[in-house]
Symmetry: C2
Subunit: 337 residues, 2 copies
């Protein structure tokens, strides 16, 4: 079940850029899938797409309207409903990353049924998973892991997919969170799966494939985050990665939303190998991705260089310096079979 | 929200003992909460309680009818519905461990509403959890962990509660699965919680308490089980145990329902300390519990003795030899404050 593109990005009247973060991520990675943005008067966000209404978007070929916004509580404001109904009536599917389900709003559910259109609530998988089995399966997998949440695991995975494809590798990004699902048109929000099925959902997401095919799996949480380590471990076991990249944000002083200190990159490498070898005995780290957004250029460059020497691993900021060094390492360590 | 006792155990017409395992567990640990069993003609199970109908049970003071059975698919057979409705009409609450929700059957939902009675679907928590925080909180906690699923973690925890209370300790069993919830009247099926909230649910289950109070937490899965390790880790982080007991079944050759070999007891101790220290830096193993059901008496005794010497830890089969040695160790290592 894939979300069809091109997209119309619905921004409504969200107050600021932060509330439109999901939409911005889609534009960053899939600009060619986006026809336009739909904004209400007073909208404080701008995805730098042509402004258009439902009619113009459909006329231009839009197939899905994406409610790519976040708001406190994940609710769906009452005054957005009529535009969503209008989109369904005009022939588009609608996809949302809000906590509230589109299908739980009667007017929206009725409009979808009336028009035979699909509603995607990407935080809530409709897939029925089985429990993970841990059996080795063909195909190669690379997973991004983190010293913390929100350190660039999704961006690193997307940058890897792009660079791997540029080098002629057969690589597919595998989304495990809502923004990633919009960016790839499919995936599963693993943190919204029932706990028994975390590794099973990860196995479903990264199925048996050609021996030279790479799944590039978006990581979640951190093995060292007291809120989410269970999700991280289930994803690690289900994805059974051959390789992983550690993502890190060097200026953070405590783990996101809790008071725990950040682990070192070395601790993350050790714990990932220690726990990951259960389903892939040959798991290994192939690179380090540092989010240097808050550092100056010289400082960022020095940090990457020092880290590369310390760990003997290609180290980069994907946005600033690209991930070609990591892909180089990957190709060397995993020659085509 | 506690399930009120005394109970009437509904066995219906399940074919054999295995299907009534939940009911047997309740009788094993809470015989004094059970007034009787309700069986249909052809029932192949017997919990060794007086047979009685709904009317007799209510007259004797029964407050909840427990559907303490399992069946393929976790469905609720059509011909059980009228007895459940009868129980609600007679003034009892009804609790079920089936996958299907009692409240999803219209006749049952209506009877509950009509009579102001409560329905408990213990596989599906109605509690709203928050994400875990990992903050240290007062009170002591002991968790049972396993080399595999179904190796005696619940029985060990219940035996510990009983023996700790006998030694005058203030101890409460904390249920994390359906049978345990019936046995203690409360708890949470952690494997049925949404993945994001595993450690949060475990924190809710084992809240801040008197510094000398012990939560005796029923473990789930195994850090070495590729299907469920995420649940195990979330529970470990949320419970932040001071102490743990490793449970083991010595005759098993592969992990339950998968092809992975069993880890050694040593590997489980090491991994539990390695991962558990994130939320409790002083976590330590205080004993080993071996399910020797399939061994002869001399063999069982020898295995416990040899294991105790190898690990330097009290080692026992809770059913066969009791857990006093482990409680002794616990008292020595954690003197009252």
């Amino acid at each position: 079940m894939e979300i069809a593109h091109p997209y119309l990005l619905f921004l409504g009247d969200v107050p600021d850029d932060l509330a439109a973060k999901t939409a911005y991520g889609i534009v960053d990675w899939r600009r060619d899938w986006c026809l336009g943005q739909l904004r209400f008067p007073g909208c404080g966000a701008d995805a730098e797409l042509p402004d258009m209404g439902v009619g113009a978007a459909v006329a231009a070929g839009a197939r899905t309207m994406i409610v790519g916004v976040v708001n406190p509580g994940g609710v769906l404001p009452e005054h957005w409903v009529s535009t969503i109904v209008e989109a369904l009536d005009a022939g588009m599917d609608v996809a949302s990353g809000l906590h509230v389900r589109l299908s739980s709003v009667p007017a929206i559910a009725e409009a979808a049924a009336r028009n035979g259109r699909r509603l995607f609530d990407v935080r809530h998988s409709t897939e029925r998973f089985t429990t993970g089995k841990g059996t080795r399966r063909p195909g190669r997998r690379i997973l991004t892991v983190g010293t913390d949440c929100s350190v660039g695991k999704k961006y690193t995975a997307l940058a890897l997919e792009k660079a791997m494809r540029a080098r002629g590798l057969d690589a597919d990004f595998r989304a495990t969170g809502q923004t990633g699902i919009f960016i790839s048109g499919r995936g599963v929000s693993v943190d919204a799966v029932v706990a028994d099925f975390i590794s099973g959902a990860a196995e479903w997401l990264t199925p048996a494939a050609d021996p030279n095919h790479w799944d590039v799996v978006e990581g979640q949480g951190s093995l060292f985050h007291p809120s989410f380590a269970g999700v991280t471990l289930g994803l690690l076991h289900g994805a059974q990665p051959d390789a992983f990249v550690v993502c890190h944000e060097p200026t953070r002083t405590s783990m996101r939303n809790v008071s725990h200190p950040l682990p070192s990159i070395r601790e993350v490498i050790e714990a990932t190998v220690y726990m990951g070898r259960l389903t892939n005995p040959d798991i290994r780290c192939v690179g380090i991705s540092i989010n240097t957004e808050k550092l100056g250029d010289a400082e960022a460059r020095a940090l990457c260089k020092d880290t590369a020497i310390e760990y003997g691993l290609p180290t980069t900021d994907p946005i600033r310096f690209g991930v070609e060094g990591i892909v180089e390492r990957l190709i060397r360590e995993f020659p085509a079979v």
